[in-house]
Symmetry: C3
């Protein structure tokens, strides 16, 4: 087990409403299965040989998990908010990069932003992009505060 160089990761995105902006954020985390852990915000690099998992389970309540996330909350009715993560994986899974974007825009616009950022990040490093993943969520605010979140959660084992 190594907290400092994670072994596995989960990627997901969700949107939700709530009584407050923070509750909306919390409710989106619950939808992703990460509402009962502590997210420790990271900048955004994927360790080599990471294994991607489909679901978060059997994590103790309150466990600290290193997480890259993009999020946005709003209580302005009629506005559409979106959050996206673009994940680029290098050849032979020797590392990867994650770029975040969240804003008042459509899901497609957020996805396009992170795609461009991943491409530039790989070009700057001279890395070859073997695989591109995107996680994105979007919601149009109605009468309650809403949140959109995209996350990559990393696990020490």
């Amino acid at each position: 087990m190594s907290w400092t160089t994670p072994k596995r990761a989960f990627i997901g995105a969700a949107s939700a409403e709530g009584g407050t902006k923070l509750n909306a954020f919390d409710n989106a985390l619950l939808k992703l299965g990460i509402g009962n852990v502590n997210l420790v915000k990271l900048s955004s690099v994927i360790p080599a040989h990471i294994e991607w998992i489909e679901e978060v389970h059997d994590v103790p309540i309150g466990m600290l998990l290193p997480t890259v996330y993009a999020h946005i909350e709003s209580d302005e009715p009629g506005m559409t908010i979106s959050a996206a993560l673009g994940i680029g994986i290098s050849e032979n899974n020797e590392g990867g990069l994650i770029y975040e974007y969240a804003g008042y825009c459509t899901k497609e616009e957020a996805e396009e932003m992170v795609r461009k950022m991943v491409e530039e990040g790989f070009a700057m490093r001279g890395w070859k992009l073997a695989e591109f993943k995107v996680a994105s969520a979007s919601i149009t605010v109605k009468d309650k505060p809403a949140a959109a979140i995209a996350a990559v959660v990393m696990f020490p084992y």
Copy 2:
């Protein structure tokens, strides 16, 4: 010892003035006994069977401590700023939730905000609220920058 699933926690709140906003924040941390450690900001879940301690002591200078905190700084004379954390503990101490609020408002308003957020968080999870704690601090800015902070600091042992 486990950095990833804390065993003990301290809760406190303080306000202070300083020569700059950051110094005011720093001075509030000093009042809480956590001015000489490194806070690593968490989202906000309390591990099961946490033990609450009354005071922070015997912590090495610069130790990294996972901390949930709400804070606000201001240099606008006459304004009142407040920070609050609402902490809900589930039955049998099997976990808990922390919600943050900080803003230009009274201490009572900040406390009311976090109380509502805790109640919604418990309702969403179907958890029963066994105990509610609140930590809050407030200050009215005079001629120097001021800060209000509320914190739950977690310890690996």
Copy 3:
């Protein structure tokens, strides 16, 4: 090895342009040799007996490194942005303090801000300032987004 009380630290500052603000930030991190790790943001205390290193090398891709950093990004042509960290070391290297500043200002102004904050932090604690270091970077925005960053990266070994 101890993630919780770091043993060594690196200090540096850089500025860069990029296709987006986040890419500019990323490019500045690459210049500093910390573009392929995960920064975990800290508040700002230096452990006792820290050893300063000249360069970051042999760090696994995606490793989590506790980091104090100040940063600013801008895409407003003609504007100068600066980021600075002021580092005060106490007598006998028994601990230190780091204060951050980033804003629309010159490098000299940012450096002056952090110097004052370090002095106040030491005075408040009754510590004697044995050594003062500053890391700062500045850039004037042209036609592309730009970033300035100053960082102290800490290592568990």
